[in-house]
């Protein structure tokens, strides 16, 4: 198994892409800490996976709260004594045009999508260093690589994640801590469900994708697994684009 004996914390993993990652990681032998603000779905997922004999637990985490991070990481250390993998997956979406975006909405998107990655990195790195290394995977987006005609806050936050990842990579390379970003294109999850809810919306999205279809959460999870595992041990500060060819255009 590719993550045998590794302790992995995944944020925003009660549902959507994070839940698929949690399932795949536990399948590959990792001890997975499912974290989210969504408590009921997180506990249900954890108990379903536990019944299947996987090693997972749920811990409530608000990625924007430093106290919340400190409490969850203490729980991980008390239970398992180490943390090998951090997947900063939690994120929120916004397509509000710039002129219509309130400062409150802007700050909320930044706080979850960038602030959450910053806090997770800040509080996990000391324990990864102590354990001789680790792997951090940050979920950015193709919206963090190229501009868009809608929104502003989301793309800005994902662009920040791209460079925060490179700073993390360089600052902690000497400690054996690697950091890479993942840039999914259109993926069939709740996050963009609204965009795909009408046949017109779906075909408009698909017409821009060279592979001619929307991606699945599992296709992103496999990329994250590769970056989390020792198979990518010479990769740090890199970007993995999983977008069906959208940004190759």
């Amino acid at each position: 198994m590719r993550l045998s004996g590794k302790v992995a914390l995944i944020t925003g993993s009660s549902r959507g892409m994070g839940a698929v990652e949690a399932e795949l990681f536990s399948d590959e032998g990792a001890i997975v800490i499912i974290t989210d603000v969504l408590e009921t779905s997180g506990r249900n997922l954890a108990s379903r996976l536990t019944q299947q004999g996987r090693n997972v637990l749920f811990s409530k985490l608000d990625v924007t709260s430093e106290q919340s991070w400190i409490r969850v990481i203490k729980e991980v250390m008390d239970n398992f004594g180490k943390i090998d993998i951090l997947i900063n997956n939690a994120g929120i979406y916004s397509t509000t045009p710039i002129e219509c975006t309130s400062l409150e909405e802007w700050n909320k998107v930044m706080s979850v999508n960038v602030g959450g990655v910053f806090l997770g990195t800040k509080h996990c790195v000391p324990y990864m260093r102590k354990g001789g290394g680790g792997s951090i995977v940050n979920l950015s987006s193709t919206a963090g690589l190229i501009g868009g005609y809608r929104g502003g806050a989301y793309g800005s936050s994902k662009g920040a994640v791209r460079l925060l990842t490179k700073n993390t990579a360089l600052q902690f390379a000497k400690d054996g801590v690697r950091a890479n970003s993942v840039h999914p294109g259109p993926i069939d999850t709740d996050m963009i469900a609204e965009n795909l809810s009408t046949p017109e919306g779906r075909s408009a999205s698909i017409s821009r994708i060279p592979l001619g279809r929307i991606g699945t959460a599992l296709e992103v999870a496999y990329g994250i697994l590769f970056l989390a595992s020792d198979e990518s041990s010479f990769m740090t500060g890199s970007e993995l684009v999983i977008d069906g060819g959208v940004t190759a255009q």
Binding site: K166, P210, T216, M235, G237, A248
Partner: protein
């Protein structure tokens, strides 16, 4: 390839290592795993992408 280019000089290899954030040169297996990932169905939504396996060299 690198060893040949520098006549196997240890000093030159050390200099190369110092330029890599992860502090070492890559091994063929490091590249092979990336190639395996791109060749396999695990990367079925990846096309036209770049996979940089360089120990952080180009993140600087």
């Amino acid at each position: 390839m690198l060893s040949n280019a520098y006549g196997g000089g240890q000093d030159k290899l050390k200099e190369w290592e110092s330029l890599v954030p992860l502090g070492r040169l890559g091994n063929p297996i490091d590249i092979a795993y990336g190639v395996l990932f791109l060749a396999s169905n695990e990367s079925s939504f990846i096309t036209g992408s770049e996979l940089i396996i360089d120990g952080g060299r180009t993140a600087i």
